[in-house]
């Protein structure tokens, strides 16, 4: 997946621990992110956000002059951009509070560097979609904006359900998406109604994206669990 365009996004990091700020900045820099601003307090974060107009904020919950939840509310008044909490507070209540207030993600310390990078990239991609985006597969490419598959120069349209299923698979590309999660994506939140099975749709998607649908290489089955979409440059 092409994520180079995300590397220029302005990211605001707020944490009262200087060493941790340095670490996060260093991880993000290693991941290619170039526009980073760091702040050690609520007041500093507010004044910096005026100047830099961040496109993503990574906040700690406990700050010397206030808490991250209130800071998020103040930041969101000035600009609508995603907020990720990175905090030592691992309690469920804190997580629910953060998500309830509109946080986009919540990472509990300690974290793995690649986990942080993965989540930051995921949030940015969700928020700042570059349209149109062609998703390259082994034998074809998906054009989600037009809801079609391009294979050997041929444009094959996707049905609404096929589009929903492929979107769900693409959101977790390279990872198993369970049968249940696919059903939920295509038919809504009804984990108990199994009148619908994604199998027939998956077969038709394969006929569209695979050179040899009976030996799939892009949309593979994980027996009993679900399916996995393999995107080429990922």
């Amino acid at each position: 997946m092409n994520s180079a365009y995300l590397k220029d996004k302005r990211i605001l990091l707020v944490d009262d621990e200087k060493a941790l700020l340095e670490l996060v900045a260093s991880i993000l820099q290693d991941g290619g992110y170039r526009c980073l601003t760091t702040a050690g307090s609520v007041s500093e974060a507010l004044s910096l956000s005026e100047k830099t107009r961040p496109e993503l904020a990574i906040l700690d919950v406990m700050l010397p002059d206030g808490n991250g939840f209130d800071l998020m509310a103040q930041l969101k008044q000035k600009g609508d951009y995603p907020v990720l909490f990175l905090t030592a507070r691992g309690e469920e209540e804190d997580k629910f509070r953060g998500f309830g207030l509109g946080a986009d993600d919540y990472i509990v310390k300690p974290f793995l560097p690649r986990e942080l990078l993965y989540r930051v990239t995921a949030i940015l991609r969700r928020t700042y979609r570059e349209e149109p985006e062609l998703v390259p597969l082994r034998d074809s490419a998906i054009d989600f904006s037009r809801a079609e598959i391009i294979r050997n120069g041929e444009h094959i349209p996707l049905t609404a359900k096929e589009h929903d299923l492929l979107s769900a698979l693409y959101r977790s590309a390279g990872r198993i998406v369970t049968i249940d999660a696919l059903c939920e994506a295509a038919w809504g939140d009804n984990p108990f109604g199994y009148e619908n099975s994604p199998m027939a749709h998956i077969r038709r998607i394969r006929e569209k994206i695979e050179e040899n649908p009976s030996r799939p290489v892009s949309l593979v089955t994980v027996r009993g669990l679900g399916y996995k979409l393999i995107v080429e440059d990922k």
Binding site: P110, P191, G224
Partner: protein, 467 residues
């Protein structure tokens, strides 16, 4: 309280029995005493006997030896009043001088009922006249005017029964009134005693017969409440302490993990150095998992973990947990096989989604930890009667029978108040047990049919609604 009516029944029974017994004893006593009064010893009988032993002789009258004996043994004197003249025609030798020698009809009627000159008089008939015996003064008391309504005598059995029944009723009423009053004061006390083990505060109104007992119950409840509060305080403090420590460790550990992670993929380092960084990272992750486990286990143990249960499909939930594990295990050293019967797509349970997923992933991690050389992990969900059985097993090294027995029986060191020197197993299984317990389920550890270790979580299933 169930025992109170039982108690009342018993006492009422006892009361009735005593009453019947009392009547029987009284009757028996009456019979014994009365029987002494009748028969040969009766003064009337003595008078009759003396009369029968009197005979006419040429010179007058003579009393036979038997008659004389009867007279003598009773200490009585005797006179014979002639039928026609109503004068004394014969008398015994010990006759007192004050006894009249002639009687009018009213006098005879009077002496029959009563006394002659203070001597209790008893009569017996002879063909010659009336035999009158005067017993020593003060030896008998005579009813002077005994007369009974005929109906009274005729209905004596019914009247006796009615009297007994009335007595019984009165006694029962008195008893019922007394018992009701006692019960009214006993009921709050028994209710209070019954409520004590529930752990809720108990307040019994201190009034009536048992006010002292009520006061004692109240003070016992206060003591229990205080102990409960202290225990809760201590548990909360312990859980908070663990939460605090785990919180404080997180930030420094972030640093360790963050830089180790960077070093691990740093192109400027040698392969050996990168491997060392990887070890630091892996061990740091172990510390992280440990403090997370410790925190969760202590919260579950002290009921401080909020449990948000809703209707879930166990199949989907466990499938997601298995998929999450595979997604995060890129080297595939531990392949996961989904062995749930394909026809089972829904198994409804009431569960906290995150906690139950945590339990399943703990079991998968457990298999990994005990099989460093890799193993296949088999995950399944099955229905067994009214239960949903989630099974995680492996084909790894497994455990000996004794070990499995110990794992199933022995408490974990965290929840054990005995010497814990011998225990070295992790918190993973404890958390699984705690999570199962918070869902009214249980955990059974055993051998897997695949050769390794098997853990089964059994949870109650929600009944399928009729379509």
């Amino acid at each position: 309280m169930k025992s109170v009516p039982k108690l009342i029944r018993r006492f009422t029974g006892l009361l009735l029995l005593s009453f019947v017994l009392l009547v029987a004893v009284n009757l028996a006593l009456l019979i014994v005493i009365a029987s002494r009064q009748v028969g040969t010893a009766s003064p009337w009988a003595t008078a009759d006997r003396v009369a029968a032993n009197l005979s006419r002789t040429e010179t007058g009258f003579a009393l036979s030896a038997a008659g004389a004996d009867a007279l003598q043994s009773s200490g009585a004197w005797a006179v014979l009043i002639d039928n026609d003249t109503r004068a004394v025609v014969w008398h015994s030798e010990n006759l007192s001088a004050s006894v009249p020698s002639r009687y009018t009809l009213p006098e005879i009627a009077g002496l029959t009922r009563g006394y002659i000159d203070g001597y209790p008089a008893f009569t017996g008939g002879t063909e010659y006249g009336l035999m009158v015996l005067g017993f020593p003064k003060g030896s008998f008391w005579k009813h002077m005017w005994p007369s009974w309504d005929y109906q009274l005598i005729a209905h004596a059995p019914q009247i006796a029964l009615a009297v007994i029944a009335t007595n019984l009723l009165v006694i029962l009423l008195i008893y019922a009134a007394a018992t009701t009053k006692a019960l009214r004061s006993v009921k709050p006390v028994t209710d209070g005693i019954r409520a004590l083990p529930s752990g809720e505060p108990v307040r019994v109104k201190a009034a009536g017969l048992l006010s002292e007992v009520a006061l004692h119950i109240n003070s016992t409840s206060e003591v229990l409440q205080m102990q409960k509060r202290q225990l809760q305080k201590r548990d909360t403090a312990r859980a908070n302490w663990i939460a605090g420590v785990s919180h404080d460790i997180r930030t420094p550990l972030s640093m360790v993990m963050g830089y180790a992670g960077q070093l691990q993929s740093s192109p400027g380092l040698t392969q050996e150095e990168r491997r060392q960084a990887a070890v630091i990272l892996r061990q740091s992750q172990r510390i992280r998992n440990l403090i997370n486990d410790l925190n969760l286990a202590s919260k579950l143990e002290y009921n401080m973990q909020p449990i948000r249960r809703r209707e879930e499909n166990a199949v989907a939930l466990v499938r997601q947990a298995a998929a999450d594990f595979i997604n995060d295990d890129p080297d595939g050293k531990y392949p996961v096989e989904w062995t749930t019967c394909p026809s089972l797509s829904v198994c409804r349970i009431s569960a906290d989604r995150d906690l139950l997923k945590r339990a399943v992933s703990n079991l998968i991690q457990n298999s990994i930890r005990h099989n460093e050389n890799g193993c296949t992990i088999y995950v399944s969900v099955a229905e067994a009667g009214p239960s949903c059985v989630i099974c995680v097993e492996d084909d790894g090294v497994g455990a000996a029978d004794a070990q499995i027995k110990e794992l199933n029986a022995a408490p974990h060191y965290m929840v054990c108040d005995e010497n814990t020197a011998g225990q070295r197993h992790g918190l993973g299984l404890l958390i699984v047990r705690q999570i199962a317990a918070s869902h009214e389920g249980n955990v059974l550890i055993g051998h897997s049919r695949h050769g390794g270790f098997a853990v089964k979580i059994t949870l109650p299933m929600i009944k399928k609604p009729r379509p």
